[in-house]
């Protein structure tokens, strides 16, 4: 099976005058964890809503698990487990009622697995959803998304505002899902250290456009965090080709260098300075540099 799990071609979306998505192309290969990152308002949730068929493409096309999610919602949604940031759950129901409700929608609902998750997450089936704490709500949403063993797990900012224990449960669910044959995960997050831990590939959205989309190893491997030491203290950030934004003071300045390491090395030598540190940056550093450049 080599067909893309998600295939987005030239997708554009406008809300009034606001261009929420512009010419977005995306291919998600099977068996991986795909991380979607970007600032608030970058278009992550809008893109995810297109994948779920909640928004219809104004321009371009969207295919999920081989189907158009707007035309074949049953085929698509029946195989997706979805957890949104809002975790909109039926307030009046108990957890047990929600589980039975979900069971009616998903023929693949696995009752034993649901019970097991209930225990792991320490949820009481008799509890009403409106009485749940934030963390319990997230775990309940996660249970509802996982227990029908979806082919594709879609998580939109699953960790935002949650304590570390719940975040561990969510990351654990991502890992367990992708460890199972034939399952896939797409998740958006602005907790970039989490993305760096679990993602195979990452797409970075900025103002509705995909500015970076590569395997994570490649993204991290092609960027360098460089610290330069000058003989004389510098009053302002240096302007050397090959560097991005500079941070520092006086003698030492750091930047994120994308690919053009030779060029930067030569420029540094030409001004009589030297590179004193060179390391692989974190995804967060790459992200801040990318967003700041524009």
């Amino acid at each position: 099976m080599n067909e893309s799990v998600i295939q987005v071609r030239d997708l554009c979306r406008r809300f009034g005058k606001n261009h929420a998505l512009e010419h977005v192309d995306l291919d998600v290969q099977p068996g991986i964890v795909f991380g979607l990152v970007g600032e608030n308002g970058a278009g992550k949730t809008t893109l995810i809503k297109h994948l779920l068929g909640l928004l219809k493409a104004q321009h371009g096309s969207v295919r999920v698990l081989g189907h158009d999610p707007v035309q074949n919602p049953v085929e698509v949604l029946g195989n997706i487990g979805y957890l949104s940031e809002e975790r909109d759950l039926p307030e009046r129901m108990t957890i047990g009622q929600l589980m039975r409700y979900q069971q009616a929608f998903f023929p693949n609902w696995d009752e034993d697995y649901a019970k097991q998750l209930c225990e792991t997450f320490q949820l009481d089936p008799g509890q009403r959803i409106k009485r749940l704490s934030r963390g319990q709500r997230a775990r309940t949403g996660l249970l509802a998304a996982l227990a029908h063993r979806p082919k594709l797990l879609v998580l939109d900012e699953p960790s935002s505002g949650l304590d570390p224990a719940v975040r561990r449960d969510i990351l654990g669910a991502i890992i367990r899902t992708v460890a199972e044959e034939g399952r896939n995960v797409l998740f958006s997050s602005h907790l970039l250290d989490e993305v760096q831990r679990v993602a195979d590939e990452v797409a970075m959205l900025h103002q509705g456009r995909v500015v970076l989309c590569d395997p994570l190893d490649q993204i991290l491997g092609s960027h360098h965090r460089i610290t330069v030491r000058f003989a004389q203290p510098q009053a302002a950030a240096p302007d050397l080709p090959g560097g991005g934004q500079w941070r520092g003071e006086r003698h030492e300045w750091s930047t994120i260098c994308n690919g053009a390491l030779n060029q930067l090395q030569q420029a540094v030598e030409a001004v009589g300075a030297q590179i004193v540190e060179q390391e692989q940056p974190s995804l967060e550093e790459v992200f801040i540099d990318r967003v700041g450049r524009r």
Binding site: V33, L171, I175, A179, L192, R197, Q280, S282, E284, E285
Partner: protein, 138 residues
């Protein structure tokens, strides 16, 4: 298996796993024939992508540190010790380089530094010999 992974370490995560497993072997906490946890289990424990753990295991296998056999999983290789020695040297060299860099920043001459190392070693031996249950691997 007690490994600690950090996203902003400056070292790729798979390499952090490789280095730390080599370290555990060099430190005598894992020996020939000991079994590494299955990929999926370690991935869940460390909260990292299973492919990353699998890559680390492949790396360890191709450098002869571990062997993977169907049915019995991934175990530490019998001839892991010469490599462990090289690893010990490498680990200590890294630390020594850092110490030397710091000493030079502080303008402490090498002779003074060596004297200090010997002095600390004596204190260290005194304190560790008092502790019962400290494992020594010969």
């Amino acid at each position: 298996m007690s490994l600690r992974i950090s996203a902003d370490d400056g070292t790729p995560i798979y390499l952090q796993i490789v280095n730390q497993i080599k370290y555990l072997i060099a430190a005598g906490r894992y020996g020939a024939g000991d079994r590494l946890p299955p990929v999926r289990k370690l991935a869940e424990q460390l909260l990292v992508n299973p492919n990353t753990v699998a890559r680390a295991y492949r790396e360890l296998e191709s450098s002869g540190v571990v062997v993977t056999r169907q049915g019995s999983g991934t175990t530490i290789a019998e001839n892991g010790s010469p490599l462990a020695r090289a690893e010990k040297v490498r680990i200590l060299s890294d630390r020594i380089d850092m110490l030397l860099a710091e000493a030079s920043q502080l303008e402490v001459p090498l002779e003074t530094l060596l004297k200090l190392v010997r002095q600390r070693a004596r204190t260290f031996q005194k304190t560790t010999s008092k502790k019962p249950g400290t494992k020594r691997k010969r």
